[in-house]
């Protein structure tokens, strides 16, 4: 047994740390919370500066007084505050059946006000303890022990956040063995925070903090909880939560609101706790536009950015511009804390801007998905994100130190994906069982350990052979209890698109009719974004035959919402990102085995598979699907272990060159195209062919090209 400290946001850090030292001389087990919890009473929010929970002395709540009581009036103020603290704790804890015996709490709440010095004794009528910091251990030592069961119940009550999201009602579920019934149980299982998430949310260092974890490990929840916690602690602070997928607006607003009620019994004040999209739009300010306005710089829109910096670098471009503009006259920082979700989607310039616009001590928290891009080179280091000082030191360091809130946090449990789906996604994403060898790998093999793999044989070293599996602690029990690995990941190959679409439509009909799933439990993912609008029409026609409505996300439905009632969502890979559904159908998976840019295509398939919360169907057709099919089957044949030789640094460099280097292919394609166009035009001129001889889509594409080129004056 040992004493664990959770370092929250404290107003009185020095005394709090001194208190921790004092307590640790006394107790040998239990948890010390600093700056936690925040309790809502009827009319006022009550801050608990420190809390000790352990078997030896039960529950002790501390108030760290800022002054020294000199007069009777002073004393009555302190006594009143402690009484209020007691009252808030009593009513908060009294809500839990497990903590009551009969009508009363099954233990005594101890409250202590700690002063730097006490010149006059407390009034005789005052209840509770009042002492100098040096006498804390002696005072606490007198409090009686509690039994183990009560302590467990207490810890649970204190760490508890009622629900992450209200589980779907699923009233229609009748058959206890149906998929709908399984989901009902899974959703119950993830409705509560785990210990890791809770700790990560409370711990607040005096400076930047990084939160890492796989998709589905609860990063967004941790950030939302952290934001609500900071907001409750400091209602006057300006706290911003920023993100890239607009679908997160809704999710974050829900979470933050729910958590705020938990802390302060009230809605958050969204003018102080701001949810800001990374960029912003014409109708809603974002993080970037807010910073630009604060610096009196013109906020650039996408149109400007695209024509100035190109589509791919549009956001990086506007951030770099604002960064340059503000480097001469650094603006007044405007934020007290900034929390960045989906950090992997933001360019380093954005981080540097946030740094510049955040007040000391730079409370910047960024959460990112370690492996969204599968290739670590795409994931900038902290140095690359924030840069270095003129003396060459890192601007931001995130080393964890003993006796401080952690600055680098890993969330180890993945709730979203079944271990089978995750291993399959990693295998095909990296090309682990690809006949022609790996497509990509990250630089640091130790990352496998951090993302929850357990090495069975070999070692996580460059050049070393290794065999590993998902570690048992990296996924919750319910996957094992409720799902069958054969059904969790299913691979289906077909001769052609029609055959594939018919099968998927039929399956969806079964899901809705027999499996007791609802429309919004299902997500159909299209890997290729460019053709997704037309592609979705063809697929949705198949669904129509079963009388099933569907919609293509972001087209003909609100941009910020992926799911629509009574309609199955179809999404291209960009829209699907950041979203999840229990049942996922990945169409056209052969996409991942075609083309030259294998890294992008493999990443796409990885993202598609990892959208699934329970079941995934990897579908594809034509000859290229065989390559993917083989790899998926090998994963299963190896019992969902990954075994391969980790590439050396040289091999990694080679991989990147081979799979990124597209210039050779591009040159060839321009040559081929020129030749074809020449042939085409000649045939036209000789009246050998008529426009009508071309397929209709080619005709329209030619026209569009002409329109666009004429408009740009580049003919």
């Amino acid at each position: 047994m040992s004493v664990q400290t959770i370092y929250g946001e404290t107003r009185n850090r020095d005394i709090a740390l001194e208190l921790e030292v004092q307590l640790k001389t006394l107790v040998t087990e239990g948890t010390i919370y600093l700056g936690y919890p925040v309790l809502a009473s009827a009319d006022k929010t009550v801050y608990v500066d420190a809390l000790l929970v352990g078997q030896e002395h039960g529950l002790v709540a501390f108030q760290l007084a800022e002054g020294v009581p000199a007069t009777i009036d002073d004393w009555s103020k302190y006594v009143m505050e402690q009484d209020r603290l007691f009252g808030a704790l009593e009513s908060h804890l009294g809500r839990h059946d497990t903590l009551r015996r009969g009508r009363r709490l099954s233990f005594d709440i101890q409250t202590v006000t700690v002063f730097s010095a006490i010149p006059t004794p407390a009034p005789a009528t005052a209840e509770g303890a009042y002492c100098e910091i040096g006498h804390v251990a002696k005072v606490v030592a007198a409090f009686p022990a509690i039994d183990e069961g009560v302590e467990k119940a207490l810890q649970a009550a204190i760490q508890r956040v009622t629900t992450i999201k209200p589980a779907k009602r699923r009233d229609k579920v009748i058959d206890d063995g149906s998929r709908g019934a399984v989901l009902k149980k899974i959703e119950k299982g993830i409705a509560n925070l785990d210990e890791w998430q809770k700790r990560a949310a409370i711990e607040t260092p005096e400076g930047p903090q990084r939160v890492r974890g796989l998709a589905g490990s609860g990063k967004t929840i941790v950030l939302a909880l952290k934001a609500a916690y900071l907001h409750a602690q400091h209602p006057d602070w300006r706290v911003a939560v920023t993100f890239w997928s607009r679908a997160l607006y809704q999710q974050l607003e829900d979470l933050v609101t729910r958590f705020s009620f938990e802390h302060s019994n009230d809605k958050p004040d969204f003018s102080r706790l701001q949810l800001l999209h990374g960029w912003g739009s014409s109708s809603r300010d974002g993080m970037y536009t807010t910073m630009a306005r604060a610096a009196d710089a013109p906020p650039r829109d996408f149109n400007y950015a695209r024509s100035t910096f190109g589509s791919g670098d549009a956001f990086k471009g506007v951030c770099a511009e604002l960064l340059a503009l503000t480097s001469q006259n650094p603006p007044q920082p405007i934020f007290d804390a900034v929390l960045i979700d989906e950090a992997q989607d933001f360019p380093p310039e954005f981080f540097q801007l946030v740094y510049r616009f955040t007040k000391d001590p730079k409370r910047i928290v960024w959460a990112f998905d370690e492996l969204q891009k599968l290739s670590e080179a795409a994931m900038p280091s902290t140095r690359e994100l924030f840069g270095t000082t003129h003396t060459g030191d890192d601007v931001v360091t995130i080393t964890n130190k003993e006796g401080e809130a952690r600055r680098d946090i890993v969330l180890p449990v993945c709730y979203r994906n079944s271990p089978w789906a995750l291993v399959t996604a990693h295998a095909v994403g990296l090309g682990i069982y690809r006949e022609a060898g790996l497509v990509q790998h990250f630089d640091d093999p130790q990352l496998w350990d951090e993302i929850g793999y357990h090495v069975l044989e070999g070692a996580l070293e460059p050049g070393s052979w290794v065999r590993m599996e998902r570690s048992r602690t990296s996924y919750p029990d319910f996957f094992l209890d409720l799902l069958d690995e054969k059904d969790a990941v299913v691979l289906q190959t077909f001769a052609d698109e029609t055959e594939q679409d018919l099968w998927v439509a039929e399956q969806i009909a079964v899901n809705l009719d027999k499996d007791e799933l609802e429309h919004d439990d299902i997500l159909v993912v299209l890997p290729e974004a460019y053709t997704s609008k037309r592609r979705s029409w063809r697929f949705s026609e198949r669904l129509q035959r079963y009388g099933i409505d569907s919609h293509l996300a972001g087209v003909g439905s609100s941009v910020d919402e992926l799911f629509v009632q009574e309609s199955v969502a179809i999404a291209n890979i960009f829209r699907a990102k950041g979203n999840e559904a229990p049942m996922v159908y990945v169409l056209d998976s052969q996409y991942a085995a075609q083309g030259t840019n294998q890294i992008t295509r493999r990443n796409t398939l990885f993202t598609a598979i990892t959208r699934s919360r329970a079941w995934v169907r990897i579908c594809g057709f034509g000859s290229h699907i065989d390559e993917i099919a083989k790899e998926v089957k090998t994963v299963r044949a190896h019992d969902f272990h990954l075994q391969f030789t980790i590439p050396t640094m040289e091999e990694l460099a080679d991989l990147r060159r081979i799979h990124r280097d597209r210039t050779g292919a591009e040159v060839a394609s321009v040559k081929r195209a020129t030749r074809n166009i020449r042939e085409l035009l000649t045939a036209f001129e000789r009246d050998e062919i008529d426009l009508d001889d071309l397929p209709p889509d080619l005709r329209t594409r030619l026209l569009k090209l002409m329109r666009q080129e004429l408009e740009n004056g580049s003919y």
Partner: protein
């Protein structure tokens, strides 16, 4: 010849499929065919805003809520609704709603159309194009002296230029594509061959016919 909602529905389904397959349309909604109304089915679409005032907020809301039969490659919307009572046509509303901006075709294809629209809307207002939606309405129930049974409206909701008779799909498509997309019209013979058989007698009155109106050789 009297058409049925079913044959019209079939023709519309084929027409929309062709538009999507030939990339003239970026996207289309499925045809709703419940009972006597042939229109579009847009999951999640809440309501259709008032058509009297034609603001670009209307266009945006239609775009966002999928309130259209087809979204053309340049962002224009086709809204096609026919209503029948048994085998008799009792109403139609056929509209072409052009986008108020000349939007980048590539972007429209790759991104969410509303996002692209918002991006242009955030730009200078001098980019707004003066284009009017055009709608052909057949509405015998509301026919009056100043309200021709079949009419075309431009610019103002008070504008009701009389038409000779209700329009078949072929008429509407020809009007839109021949006039506003001559290149597309020229390249796609399919569009020329949609139905044009008269729905029945002409609906234009003598008075209306004495004024500037729309008529075609069948009448």
């Amino acid at each position: 010849m009297v058409a049925t909602s079913r044959s019209l529905r079939d023709e519309l389904v084929n027409f929309l499929t062709y538009l999507v397959a030939s990339e003239i349309a970026l996207y289309a909604n499925h045809v709703s065919g419940d009972g006597d109304q042939v229109s579009w089915k847009a999951p999640g679409s809440k309501f259709l805003e008032e058509r009297r005032k034609q603001t670009y907020a209307n266009y945006r809301s239609w775009l966002e809520n999928g309130a259209y039969s087809a979204l053309l490659f340049d962002g224009a919307l086709l809204q096609i609704t026919y209503r029948f009572a048994g085998r008799t046509l009792i109403e139609h509303r056929l509209a072409w709603v052009p986008s108020p901006f000349a939007m980048d075709l590539e972007l429209l294809n790759n991104e969410s159309p509303v996002d692209v629209f918002d991006m242009y809307a955030a730009g200078p207002s001098s980019d707004v194009e003066l284009k009017t939606p055009i709608h052909f309405d057949f509405d015998p129930a509301r026919a009056a002296d100043d309200h021709p049974t079949t009419h075309v409206s431009l610019n103002s909701s008070d504008c009701r230029i009389a038409c000779a008779a209700p329009l078949r799909l072929g008429h509407f498509v020809e009007f839109v594509f021949r006039n506003f997309y001559p290149d597309v019209w020229g390249a796609h013979k399919y569009l020329h061959d949609l139905s044009r058989e008269p729905w029945g007698e002409q609906t234009i009155t003598k008075v209306e016919a004495s004024q500037v109106h729309l008529s075609w050789a069948q009448y």
